[in-house]
């Protein structure tokens, strides 16, 4: 889901940054108010976890690859605004150093994976887990479903961004200037592969870590609850 340079035209690239600048500003503000000094290491681990989990490319045999992002897990532990910061750090480093995701597309990529993904996932997690105890199995299920829905929603956003390009930019003869695939093809491909395969990887990763923390350190799962109120 790391959109490279050249796939999005200037309008979408600028729109991505225009959307993200206030989101980053609000996220900084929220994190400033809620993040406790002792949670800083967890924020760092969250960014690093997101970075490395994205390197685990999962293949569709004979087809394409994809991966989990880990953003919903960070949102469950530290809240969605902190997840925006952590995943943005990972995405910027991936783009600058490793050419994974374009420089011009950092705004759009952060919007999809560092904003839409953790916020949708977090909303699903809160809704499903309700008032259940912190160690309830229901929270493991909630975390998994949240990861799945979050990732699929983010892939829908990426599909829309890809698919808008032939409408926004083309030559007089109809040749594409940027991504050549329209909304129907792009959304079908992005949502299809994430719903069928990669969403399940996010589901399993998110649920497993929450299950592990319930056993080892339920305090970590609790911390964000106080912060939110």
């Amino acid at each position: 889901m790391h959109i490279p340079d050249g796939y999005l035209g200037p309008i979408t690239c600028v729109a991505g940054y225009v959307a993200m600048v206030p989101i980053w500003a609000i996220a900084s503000n929220k994190v400033k108010k809620t993040l406790q000094a002792k949670q800083v290491p967890l924020l760092a681990i969250g960014a690093a976890f997101s970075f490395v989990i994205m390197m685990f490319n999962v293949p569709i045999p004979g087809g394409t690859t994809g991966h989990a992002v880990g953003a919903v897990l960070v949102a469950i532990l530290l809240g969605p605004w902190a997840a925006t910061i952590a995943v943005s750090v990972a995405l910027v480093i991936q783009a600058l150093l490793f050419g994974d995701g374009g420089l011009t597309a950092i705004g759009a990529n952060c919007f999809n994976m560092a904003f839409v993904l953790p916020f949708v996932g977090y909303a699903v997690y809160r809704t499903i887990s309700g008032n259940s105890p912190i160690t309830a199995m229901r929270r493991v299920v909630a975390a998994g479903i949240a990861g799945y829905i979050g990732l699929v929603t983010a892939s829908l956003c990426a599909g829309i961004e890809f698919g808008l390009q032939p409408l926004l930019h083309h030559t007089a003869s109809g040749q594409a200037l940027y991504c050549p695939y329209g909304l129907k093809v792009a959304i079908t491909a992005m949502v299809g592969e994430h719903a069928l395969i990669f969403g399940w990887v996010e589901l399993i990763a998110t649920a497993l870590v929450v299950k592990y923390l319930q056993k080892q350190e339920p305090g970590l799962l609790q911390a964000n609850r106080e912060v939110v109120k």
């Binding site: 050249g6 993040l35 681990i45 490319n57 999962v58 490793f98 374009g102």
Partner: protein, 111 residues
């Protein structure tokens, strides 16, 4: 052992295991992610390289493109796996550094 220590160790294990993300796609003949094709691949798909894509695609020269060392494109899976682990370790270190500094800066100012 403290849980935080275990989480740090977990990150290290993920870094060392990361070549799985290189090896599996190779063995199962999976190509690029959708929408992340290089300009040449794009030509194979639609018959031409969109002119804007061609211009913008080289706007940035990453230091370690595709989580490998420059010029390692044609190397074998062994070499690439080594570069992948190094990339994971560098990336993890930078993420920790970046997020830590940001977190310190933000949490310190909130008091």
């Amino acid at each position: 052992m403290k849980t935080m220590t275990k989480l740090w160790i977990g990150l290290g294990i993920l870094a060392i295991a990361s070549p799985i993300g290189l090896y599996l796609p190779d063995k199962l003949k999976a190509g690029s992610a959708w929408g992340e094709w290089g300009a040449d691949e794009m030509k194979g798909l639609i018959g031409y390289i969109p002119s804007g894509l061609e211009k913008l695609s080289s706007v940035w020269n990453a230091i370690m493109p595709d989580y490998a060392f420059k010029g390692w494109g044609g190397k074998g899976l062994g070499h690439l796996s080594f570069a992948y682990v190094i990339s994971a370790l560098i990336g993890i270190a930078l993420c920790i550094g970046g997020a830590w500094l940001l977190g310190k800066f933000l949490s310190g100012k909130g008091r």
